[in-house]
């Protein structure tokens, strides 16, 4: 039945394709611009077809475009972003799993309050936290370090990861925990041997979520690091338009594509598990 092309199914595919086109338009514009020369774009419009293919934009964006005095393109900043994203994602996910585990399965007095407060953290606008973070990083001596950014993203990320994991873990039957306690397993052994092996669906959700959010964040990146320490989003902004500058849309678009590649790949390969993980209970 799924394969017969009834008018209804034609309509379904038409709708899906129509929406897909709508979703793809902005990406298409960036892709087209990434192979256009600055002169081409400047002389015509930022939305248009390339007159000639300028693949050199990618090369320049990656390795030779000058940002500040460094003419190394965005590659060193990509590396900074990885140095920031990977530890921050892993640590915040693990701590969130641990928090979620204790909140969901080891109920204690006031656990609902703790959970409520942590959830509130999801809603705090980051503009509001800029000054407090400045003071905290100063007192910890982490100003202008990638470690400082990792700290920020871990602490803020815990709110999200705890929320996701806790909701997922409440679906784990209490009896499993009781059985393990009688078997003599302690807090960590239960986490490590029983809860964690059950967690891949939700861990994939949190990892995808954290990875993309941390990767794309720029306010903290710009404020708390400088020069060679900055993440790639800061470098992208550096390429973007300023009051007295002619925009370099071609190179900028190429840089945008390169910088977006990791997150796009994460969604491309993780998307299936993302939905599956959400199905497995993250949304209850």
């Amino acid at each position: 039945m799924a394969d017969r092309l009834t008018p209804a199914r034609v309509l379904i595919y038409a709708l899906l394709a129509g929406f897909a086109a709508f979703y793809l338009v902005p990406l298409l514009v960036v892709v087209l611009n990434s192979v256009r020369t600055a002169e081409d774009i400047g002389a015509t419009s930022v939305v248009g077809l390339p007159r000639e293919l300028a693949f050199g934009n990618f090369e320049r964006a990656w390795g030779s475009y000058c940002i500040a005095r460094r003419c190394e393109g965005i590659s060193p900043y990509m590396w900074n972003s990885f140095l920031m994203v990977v530890p921050a994602t892993i640590i915040s996910t693990l701590l969130g799993a641990l928090n979620g585990y204790s909140l969901a399965l080891w109920r204690f007095r006031g656990d609902n309050w703790v959970f409520g407060i942590i959830t509130l953290g999801v809603f705090l606008p980051e503009q509001m936290k800029l000054v407090p973070w400045t003071l905290v990083l100063r007192d910890l001596g982490l100003t202008n370090t990638i470690a400082g950014l990792v700290l920020i993203h871990v602490v803020q990320g815990i709110s999200f990861t705890t929320l996701f994991c806790r909701n997922y873990y409440t679906a784990i039957p209490q009896e499993l925990l009781k059985a393990a306690k009688i078997d003599g397993a302690g807090f960590f052994r239960i986490f490590w041997r029983i809860v964690l092996p059950l967690s891949p669906p939700i861990l994939i959700v949190t990892v995808i979520w954290q990875f993309t959010h941390i990767w794309n964040e720029f306010l903290y990146g710009v404020t708390f690091t400088s020069g060679a320490q900055q993440p790639v989003t800061a470098a992208l902004i550096a390429l973007s338009v300023s009051v007295s500058e002619a925009p370099q849309y071609g190179v900028q678009s190429a840089a945008v594509l390169i910088a977006a590649l990791p997150t796009l790949l994460v969604y491309l390969f993780g998307g299936k598990y993302f939905v599956r993980g959400l199905t497995a209970g993250a949304v209850k």
């Binding site: 929406f19 939305v47 703790v114 794309n216 199905t279």
Partner: protein, 326 residues
Amino acid sequence: MTPDPGPATAPAAPALDAPRAAARRAAARPAWRDAIGRWLPHLVLWPPLLVSVVHVLGFTGYTTWMSFTASTLMPDYEWVGLRNYTAVLNSRNWQIATDNLLIYGAGFVVLTTALGLLLAVLIDQRVRGENLFRTIYLYPMAVSFVVTGTVWAWLLNPSIGIQRLVRSMGWGGFRFDWLVDREMAIYTIVIAGAWQASGFAMALFLAGIRSVDADLYKAAQVDGAGPWRIYRRVVLPAIWPIFIAVLVILLQYTIKTFDLVRALTGGGPGIATQLPALVVYDLMFQRGLLGRGSAAAVMMLLSLLLVLVPYFGFMRWRRHREARHG
């Protein structure tokens, strides 16, 4: 269990002494190990919980305090009472921002939910290339709005984007100039916001639809319900918790909306598309009025409580109900 022969044929009870002896040995291990065993979980567990709680309460408390001080470029702890609040409430920017928040919030939540649901239902029709479609709908989440907002600004701009494209295809009278229209610009933010977030809503709805008990579909089919009726009367009511989840996620997104507007309209034309998060940032950092910006931030958070308190109340009610039935 037919292949299992009855236990009557099992051999006589074996002596199971070995593990028992081992258990006794284990029980006799030193007390300090037990003490560590009891305390270690607390040592590991509490720091992250405490850090999160302190981060939320501390930062919120700090901002609240600042909102009552004369802070300008730098934190300054001179108490000024409610002066910052009255100043913010009386400013045109804030009034426009709060009005916009209502328009944008309602439009964005409704459009995103509807789009997400429609896409989820379409994808649920056992289509070929599901992976591809799903990835396409989800990818806007993956890209920073600092980037995509700029591209949307081009596309929505009448002189370079869609309007120009359609006109160049021969429809000379085509008009799509919401971006530069004071009255309509806020809706372009709704469109771009829905473009970015509807994929996530789709993922949530798809997850919900997929987790509906297959027997429910069968029962509805047996009852003679068509596909439309099955969704409307059986599936959607069954996934109402997903609606709540989507709603909460979109509302927090609404209130925090910042990059989107900054990249798309910069708050303009004029100040027609101001939103509270922009006003907070503008006051705190552009105008160097930390105290006044903090007051705006506190009011933003209070508006958030209007959403969160009913939500937590609802969750509590649901837990109680489940406890009663369980």
